[in-house]
Symmetry: C2
Subunit: 289 residues, 2 copies
Amino acid sequence: MTTTFWTDEVAELLRVRPGFTLSEVDPGAKPGTDAHKRDGAKELTRAAQELRELQEKLFAQSRLGAPDRLLVVLQAMDAAGKGGVVNHVFGQTEPYGLELTSFKSPTDEERAHDFLWRVEPRVPGPGVIGVFDRSHYEDVLIQKVRQFAPADEIERRYGAIVDFERRITAAGVRVVKIMLHISPEEQAERLLSRLNDPAKHWKYNPGDVDERLHWAEYMAAFQTAIERTDSDEAPWYVVPANSKWYARAAVQRIVISELVALSPHWPEPDFDAAAERQRVVDSQDLRWP
Amino acid sequence: MTTTFWTDEVAELLRVRPGFTLSEVDPGAKPGTDAHKRDGAKELTRAAQELRELQEKLFAQSRLGAPDRLLVVLQAMDAAGKGGVVNHVFGQTEPYGLELTSFKSPTDEERAHDFLWRVEPRVPGPGVIGVFDRSHYEDVLIQKVRQFAPADEIERRYGAIVDFERRITAAGVRVVKIMLHISPEEQAERLLSRLNDPAKHWKYNPGDVDERLHWAEYMAAFQTAIERTDSDEAPWYVVPANSKWYARAAVQRIVISELVALSPHWPEPDFDAAAERQRVVDSQDLRWP
C-alpha cells in the first residue's frame, strides 16, 4: 500500500465472503478510508500512474507469450456510476491494453443464440484489461426480474456462468465482478439531475424509471446472482457507490490489487541486445538521400 | 483558437496541398508554434478537456441518430511516435467513444482475402473516434517496398483505397490520415534508446532495422501513396515528429479542428423532460424494503 488515502486494504473489505447479505451493505458507507472528496480526486490521479505501469507490464509480457489478462465486469442499477468508473478509472489507462464492451439489449440475432454467444468474442486476449459495462449477468438480473426468460432457464444460467468463467479463468483470464451499490434515493437524485441538465439529457432513458419500480426484486436478483456465481477464481466485490469519488477510488484500488496479484513483469527479450545495438549503429553509416 | 500555444492554425499548415513534396518537409520543424517542451505537455493536458467535450457531444448525438464519426489513420516509420500519440492524445479521451485498431502483419486468412477485408469491420460506428495504428496503407507501403505484391496489384490498390474512403465518407465517416515524419537519424537514436532500457526492450523488433535499410524507398512509397489518395474528403496531414511533444500537440490540434468542423451538439431529447421529472418524483413515494 503506497498511499495514505486508504487506511485499510479496501479490496479485502469489499470482497464478498460466504454468508454475504446485500441488504446489510450501506450504499453510503466508505470502508477503508477517512478521506474526503478532494482527496478522492487526488488519489485517483496519483494511483492512475500505478495502474498504467502494471497495465503496461501486463501488455508487454503478453507480446512474448504470457497468457494473463484481466476481465472486469461492472454491474449496477441505472445511474449508479458505471460510466464514471469507465471514464475516470479506465479512461486513465493506455488504449492499447484496454478493451471496453458495452452490452445493450440483445438484438434479434443475439436472442436466437445462447446468452453467452455474444459474450465469448469479447473475452479479452492476453495482456489486455477487458471491461464489461453490463454483461452476461443481465441475463440473470433484468431477465429474471422482468420474466423475459422462464424460471428454469434462469436457473440453468447460473450454472452456465460458473462453467464459462471457470473455463476462461483456466485459459489465463482473471475474472473480477464488481457491483456498484447505490440507494434508490440516490438514484432518484441522479435521474433528476440528468433531467435538469440539457447536456445530460442523452444519458436519461425513460425505461430507467420502469426498472426502478422493481428495486426490491433487483436487489433479490443481485443477491442470488452473487451467491450462485461467487468463487475464488471469479470473485465478486460490492462497492458502496452513493459517493462517486469513493466508488471510483475503490474500483481503481481493486483493479490495482488484482493486477498486483498477477505480478506482471518486463519480459526477457528474444534477441541479442548488444548485437542489435551494433546493427543500428552500423545502419547510421548509410548515406540518406 | 483558444490557446496561445499555437501562433497559427497548425492543421492548415500541416495539411497536404497539391504539389506536396515529402522530401521538402523538415522532420525537425515545429510549424505553428514558438513554444518549448514544457509548454507542449501543458498544452496537451489543457486541450485534452476540449477534445473530450467534442468527443462526448459526438457520442451523445449519435445516440439519437446522428451518423457522424471520425477515423484517424496513423502511419509512420517504426519508432516515429504512433504509440505515444495513441497513449497521450487518444489516451486522454473517453473510452466509450474510442475504438483503437492495431493492424499487424496479415494472418494467413487475411492474406487470402482482398486487403480491405480486415479493414471494413474496423470502421468506427456513429459517434465514435476510430484510430488505426497502421492501416490499409501498409498494403501500398511495406508491400510495395518489399515487393510482397506485384506492381499492378499495388497500382490497383490506390484506386481501391480512394473508392473505399469515398464510400465510408458518404456514410458519415470523416477520414483523416496522418503521417508522423521522423528523420533516419532520429529513428536510430530511438531504437538505441529502446535497446538501452530493459523496460523498453519489448517495443524493439529486429525487423525494424531491416525496414530502416529501405528508408529512401519508403519515403518514395509515402510520397506516391499521399499523392494518389489525398482528397478534400479524406485528407492527408504530414506532421514533423522528431520532437515528440510537438507531434503529439499537433495531432491533438488536428483532431480537435476536424471535430470542430463536424460541429457536434447535444441532441434534443426524445422524451418529455417535465413528465419524466414527475415520474421520478412520484417513484420516491414508494416504500423501499
